[in-house]
Subunit: 237 residues, 6 copies
């Protein structure tokens, strides 16, 4: 009954290719089905000014979508002269989620910027950005460790994300665009490798939902995240 | 153990004064303790262009904070030349939440703009904006009904919002600023008058949480929302 | 013959409530009839950079209007991405007027920012902002004196403002919106408590005026300002 | 005692050269001493949208200053990405002043845009812009009359402007930069050819003034305007 | 003597993979050595408004670079709020070059937007964008022909681009970043498949060049373009 | 056969008046026929930050056009809130061209800003800006030498520019607007006084050209530049 023929709890085929750009300290191209996101992590020697003297580091993220990543062309945000509210909301989410898995004290007073650029979109771009962004971050931190610029690993745990929603009355995992555009209730679930919750965002456009539905979606999310974390492990091995 | 001396589940004193501006079709000044938000609802004869010919109406929201609503002065967004990512995220949330309680078909092809301007902030401004914004919206719709511009009531149910979080290891309801700035886990819960969920946003800054904690916060939210809905009812009676 | 039934020289009912926000160093809500302006004064430890090393302080102002302060909703300036020419003109006027009553040497190298936000507009918002802004400034300076951060009072005199114009061929004081939108000649008169002139701005939209009319308006202004200064005195007593 | 050696009521040498650009419908280069402003008037077939169907025309103005018109280079406003508050205040004043001398009904539903660009500045640029802008406007309207696009002359009277202020304790006419930067009280007086007042703006930076001083400045202004109007007449003859 | 070990006239390994995104009407990923550009062509039913009623179509281009496409991270232009002068110059060049190979009458009143986004940069990104952009354009036009939306082929000829410059005193073809950052003279040569010139841009940063050097670079460019056109032919076959 | 009646290789009447503003360190008003550009050079004590400690100076340029410099009025860029891509492209070209004639080491760590403002346009404004900009630069550098702030002359050679193109099938020099708007191929040639090439930009809008045509245009350019350099020499003598 899902447009893709998937079962309710099936996530899409996942592929994470690392080392895809020669310049970035960490990088990967993550594909969740037809959603493709290029993630790079850049290490900067300086932390933001509000952390000066604190001994703490920072992880932040920026998100973008190529104009023709979608079915009809979107106006380029650089040409429009500003990032949309949606873009800002997403990149704030990515940064907050990744920071939840980092010991900022062990990172020291430096900043890692994770750029997530959507090359092709088919739903779930923010979740793919978090899952792929963690891989880029992990690889960049590995360079810091290898260069002995930091001594203890600041990465506390995996962080991965999945969207689950109510489609045609049923709870489904990892919505693609065909489902996402129809779903009345849609949630993003960000969890750690050990299954702790980092962020839960459930919203309904012109609809409402029950606690029972919320629980069902959370169950689907936990199962999906386990597969994503396994893919992350394989990618950075 | 809460800075305000409140019990874990206590919400702050709530006051909703209606009809506070002579120009707006609906208005109220909502006070949740020391958080004061002026909410106005403006009826516009035209729906946004993407709804042209659809027969559907729209409810949207804008959010602002006076520069000295907070303990230290914030730069005026009009002077800065743009709304922050935080502002945009909040006003998108308010609009989405209010729309969940509206039958856009019964509203007809018109738009209601709900402006929420924070005169004084002490935590929970987005939740107060939703709770107060609903009152302004209700009053504006009453005018449409009284003028027989619409025949059936487009308001489906109350919509109200509360923040709950983990403060000093304990789940607490309706965080004030002193708690909010310390809480590792913080959630916004938007519910209808009948207890359906509209939006759940739980996030952790540099921390994680368990499903059990999530459940505890949701329980607190349901109890708090009941009190807020009662206050809305009294205000619009 | 005035829409409000007032006599030619009558000013509207004036109310100045102080201490209306818990965060600002000085604050008041001034009401000139249906024109309501929230004024806050913020003390900043640093003067603007062009005063560095001069020993002089600075007083500046910002002005804003809530979107639905007026009869039809105005676009939020933060959303438009810039302050209008009108807004900038008004806030420059408020700052310049307040500085005329301040000994910037006695203030020392610090800045006081006076924010004037119009909650409800019915004509004369810039004048109410100056009159109320002075009260907020006075209260903030009182805190500096009480804390012995400054030793001599930098406030030289009261500063208050009134608009007077030619309505239906007659000189009238303190125009409300109904008069202001019809008046061919309109002036803003800013005076000190001792009756000295600080700023005079008379302009005609599509009309001209004589020196005799100018004198009549100035006479009305002097009488009105005396009442405003009395209200200021009562408010800060 | 004036830096230039002028007597108190002397205005600077005035020169108005017309027809200085081949494209504009009306143009002049006005020189008030070392203040040089290029004024052009452009006729547009459409009035602004707020006048649609009203039968009324519009006159508006824009003002700019070349980056090195002044003693030290100012940042180009186009590069800064916005017009300063000062620029907007000035161009609003120019437009309002010119409209006071125009019968907008006789002009018909068209717009005339007067551009005033300061090539070299030595004080009094806004006044020179008004005086020169009127000449450009007059010449453009002459073209409309000559082409029989309008039948009755919409120009009601001359409009000219002069700044007068208190310099070294004395009232002086037509301040140059050396005086303007020192003067505590400074006014702009815009009058018609028949001596009616169009706009009076008197302000004091960190000072105040008396009604007697105001009268003295107005007397100087009337005498100066007479000379400016004579120069306008000679220029457009 | 070239850092890459290439001979003076050697161009880098070229790869053009077509059909790389599922949404765009035409697309390719072009790799000139380590310079990788994703090119998409979007067909829009409407031509720009300045062509309305002309019967002519339009081809335009936009250019962007991912923040970490380069050795150190560049600020995202969408976050900066504007496209740099360099970006605008490049995208104007791409559009102008592609239009030189198009019969806009045969295209009809529609627009094709070619987006060129640099995933990884190593010099020559604007040239790779033109060469790859032509492939995306060719594929999109093929769709129009296949759908019989147009009857005659609007593509007149291939258009390809190469940079050549003086490096270490020698003329070299297809500069990579190591060469480009050192070259005193640098040119971009855009030619058609039949060897006609479309655009020549030669510039020297802090240096000058002779006509003889110009001729040498042009000879190199002609040879290089022939190879690029062959690669285009293979890609679209 | 040229609209102006000129022979193919004729350039327009050239006039360069120096010392036209009292504030700038160097200035001229250059007229190439009806194209009039006011050029000023401003000396700034500081070099841009990227040169700090390098011992090298910088020459940069800004370009603007008065709104009514052209046949129909263009929107003022300051009002539009940004410089167009065309403006940025032109000012980058002017700066790059002028730097080619300067020994930045002899200039020392200071910056010279050349502002080129078009008062009246009739084609070839960027070329006139370069030719006139060089004169302003030369005069400003003379002041540095006269004041012994620098000891050796940083000006290496003259820099001048001319546009040549194919009009009605014939190569013509120094295109005016009537020709420029019709020409299919158009080039800008920037040369030094000794005939070295600084920059060549040839482009075709919807057309292509041959190497033989390129050679013809270059021949015309060399002849035209010789006359421009002679005019520069006369102006700064």
């Amino acid at each position: 009954m899902r447009p893709s023929g998937r079962n309710l709890g099936d996530i899409r085929a996942i592929s994470i290719e690392t080392g895809v750009t020669k310049h970035a300290e960490g990088s990967c191209l993550i594909k969740m089905g037809d959603t493709h996101v290029l993630c790079t992590a850049t290490i900067e020697d300086k932390a933001p000014s509000f952390l000066k003297g604190s001994g703490l580091g920072w992880v932040t993220a920026e998100y973008g979508m190529l104009p023709r990543a979608t079915n009809s062309r979107n106006r380029r945000e650089a040409a429009a002269g500003k990032q949309s509210g949606r873009t800002q909301e997403i990149q704030r989410l990515i940064g907050r989620s990744l920071r939840a898995g980092v010991d900022r004290s062990a990172l020291g007073e430096r900043q890692i910027v994770v750029d997530c650029d959507v090359l092709q979109a088919d739903g779930g771009t923010r979740c793919a950005s978090i899952t792929g962004g963690w891989v880029a971050l992990r690889l960049a931190v590995n360079k810091l460790l290898a260069a002995r610029l930091i001594v203890s690993d600041p990465i506390l745990d995996h962080v991965a994300a999945i969207s689950c929603g109510i489609y045609a009355g049923q709870p489904v995992a990892d919505l693609d665009y065909a489902e996402d555009s129809e779903a009345g209730v849609d949630g993003n679930f960000i969890l750690t490798g050990s299954g702790r919750l980092v962020e839960v965002q459930m919203s309904a456009e012109g609809a409402t939902f029950s606690r029972a539905q919320m629980t069902e979606l959370l169950d689907l999310a936990e199962a999906g995240i386990a597969k994503l974390v396994a893919a992350q492990k394989a990618a950075v091995a």
